[in-house]
């Protein structure tokens, strides 16, 4: 019988613990992986540099004060005017309408799902909301134009085809799932024992929900509202399709308006020569949009972290 034992390879009487091939791989791989991760930083820097350099050139030609405080936006028609306020007010109106729809409905759905709904109902509703969140925005745009606008026109017959109200409502519907799922996450994180404590004192369900769970989850709920606001500001296709292309300072949601995002699409669809002032407006408006949403997102993260309750 042949006896065979596995022996450690020996080199000059010493055990060898090195395997060159694996060693190399373990040096190269982390570097490659780091490059993948660093790409996100590069992307951010790319966005910032792009926006800043082109915006800077734009402000060489258009005084920044005229841009920020001007009340007329007509960059494509002479005499040109580059006041961003009409676009801002249009964006703001859409956002406010959307939040008026999304925050109460989203929060109420979250309370229902987390505090009231039996398991079986929750199992049905949550996937539906996920589907709602996955519907492309262009589809919502069609929905606004073909169903919501005619519906509103039965109440306000004088309203135009393109209007802020319909677009705002549909943007709101689009954001409901986001508000709902983020708020519900925050409410589910509230420990069972707090609810028990309140029930044991004789609280009813709505008292537990509104006086214990919602306050305890407030940071998450506020963060979800801020994110909703930011999402509505950045939403593009719904407003491009349904809100119109007439930048104006108005408080009337039944009128056609234009948002910052819709303006960017409008210009990029036309054959504006690049290098021109008109082309520069894309970047100035894009920068404005980026700065606002960026600050809101930072705010949301800050709120969620800073005011996180310790239960």
């Amino acid at each position: 019988m042949r006896s065979e034992t596995i022996q450690p390879s020996k080199e000059m009487g010493k055990l060898v613990f090195k395997n060159k091939k694996n060693h190399m791989l373990d040096k190269i791989v982390p570097i490659l992986l780091f490059l993948c991760a660093a790409l996100s930083i590069v992307t951010t820097i790319g966005i910032v540099i792009t926006l800043i350099s082109e915006t800077y050139q734009f402000f060489q030609q258009v005084p920044i004060m005229d841009y920020l405080f001007g009340t007329k936006w007509s960059p494509l028609i002479t005499p040109t005017s580059f006041g961003v306020l009409p676009l801002l007010s249009g964006t703001f109106m859409i956002t406010v309408i959307a939040c008026l729809v999304a925050i109460p409905l989203g929060l109420a759905s979250a309370i229902y799902l987390s505090e009231y709904a039996p398991k079986t109902v929750r199992k049905i509703i949550k996937p539906i909301l996920e589907v709602l969140a996955g519907v492309p925005t262009i589809v919502y745009g069609y929905f606004a134009l073909s169903l919501i606008t005619p519906l509103i026109r039965t109440i306000f017959p004088d309203m135009g085809v393109f209007n802020a109200l319909s677009a705002g409502i549909v943007v709101g519907i689009m954001i409901i799932p986001m508000v709902c799922s983020l708020s519900e996450d925050a409410m589910s994180a509230v420990p069972r024992s707090l609810r028990d404590g309140a029930y044991a004192l004789g609280a009813t369900r709505f008292e537990v929900a509104l006086k214990i769970v919602v306050p305890a989850a407030l940071s998450g709920i506020v963060a979800s509202a801020v994110l909703a606001f930011s999402r509505a500001i950045g939403e593009t296709m719904i407003v491009t399709v349904a809100a119109g292309a007439t930048p104006k300072l108005t408080g009337n949601p039944l009128e056609s308006i234009q948002t910052m995002t819709a303006y960017i699409v409008q210009v990029s669809l036309g054959d504006t020569p690049h290098g021109s002032i008109e082309y520069g407006t894309i970047f100035a408006v894009g920068m404005t949009l980026f700065v606002i949403t960026f600050l809101l997102n930072i705010l949301a993260q800050y709120v969620a972290r800073r005011f996180r309750e310790e239960y």
């Binding site: 109420a108 492309p136 993260q301």
Partner: protein, 292 residues
């Protein structure tokens, strides 16, 4: 002692119960609005589009005449876009996730990258369009090509993929890593042979969901593609292109009602494609839940 309250106490409780009942109803109504909206949307689109949901839609190129128009080039464009994006975003996204979960030290740079990723996820998609326009279309002179579009969309979905892949990797029990290390495996052997196989279904679920978001994304591609009248199939990645959402947008923005029906039919195609992708993701997720 008595459990039966005097009249005032009973009244107070009856009142609170009524409040609870009213709010319960209110919450149910609010929740149903979301559900009803989805149903209304589906019904609206199917009613409008079902007549045009016919073979012509798949075989014809866009046309000025609504009766002859189809979305062949857009469907093919979307599929090509997916084919380019899927491997790119998978490799880059999963690579970043592995780095952050397995290799990165808990230092400031890591935190910065992590914070940066979650911030990028919140940047409006149109801003990616601006980036793509400057960087790929002009900067790298790739023009308004399929490649420009795919690269832009890759950047857009990366944050989503990274975050979901990180979650999947984090869900792999530490014991599996230890077992591998204890057998003398190196870090990369452990990651590639022990951690990733366990995490893969979860990672793929995230990738598919992110890609399904990209398939429906319109705004950045409108900026990159611009061109919406594409009556040919792209033959190389540097050819100009169109995709389904752009074609749909084009049809929606025409005043002629007949084009709106086409748009609705196009939406049906788009939604079916999304549904299939989501279904695949759910299947994977179920498999995943069984494994871990």
């Amino acid at each position: 002692m008595s459990l039966l309250e005097e009249d005032t106490g009973r009244k107070q409780i009856a009142q609170r119960r009524r409040m609870d009942f009213i709010l319960h109803i209110l919450f149910v109504i609010c929740t149903s609005i979301g559900v009803l909206a989805l149903m209304a949307l589906m019904v609206d689109i199917i009613m409008d589009g079902i007549m045009r949901f016919a073979p012509d839609l798949f075989t014809n190129y866009p046309s000025r005449r609504a009766s002859q128009a189809g979305m062949k080039s857009a469907i093919v464009g979307s599929l090509y876009m997916l084919l380019i994006m899927a491997p790119l975003s998978f490799i880059l996204g999963v690579g970043a996730a592995i780095f952050l979960e397995e290799y990165a030290k808990k230092n400031r740079l890591t935190r910065l990258i992590q914070l940066n990723i979650s911030t990028l996820a919140g940047v409006p998609s149109i801003v990616y369009g601006i980036l793509g326009l400057t960087l790929f279309v002009r900067g790298l002179a790739l023009e308004r090509s399929l490649l420009s579009g795919a690269l832009t969309m890759t950047l857009l979905v990366l944050p989503i993929i990274i975050v979901s892949a990180q979650e999947a990797i984090r869900a792999v029990p530490k014991a599996r890593r230890d077992a591998s290390f204890a057998l003398g495996a190196t870090k990369w052997q452990t990651v590639s042979r022990s951690v990733m196989p366990s995490a893969l279904p979860g990672v793929l679920t995230g990738v598919i969901l992110a890609l399904s978001r990209a398939i429906g994304e319109t705004a950045p591609l409108v900026m990159i593609g611009g061109l919406t009248y594409v009556a040919f199939l792209p033959e190389s990645i540097l050819d100009s292109f169109t995709v389904m959402p752009i074609q749909i947008y084009n049809w929606i923005s025409r005043p002629n009602e007949a084009f709106h029906e086409l748009a609705a039919a196009g939406i049906i195609v788009l939604l079916i494609m999304l549904l299939l992708m989501n279904f695949a993701a759910i299947l994977l997720r179920n498999k995943y839940q069984k494994n871990v």
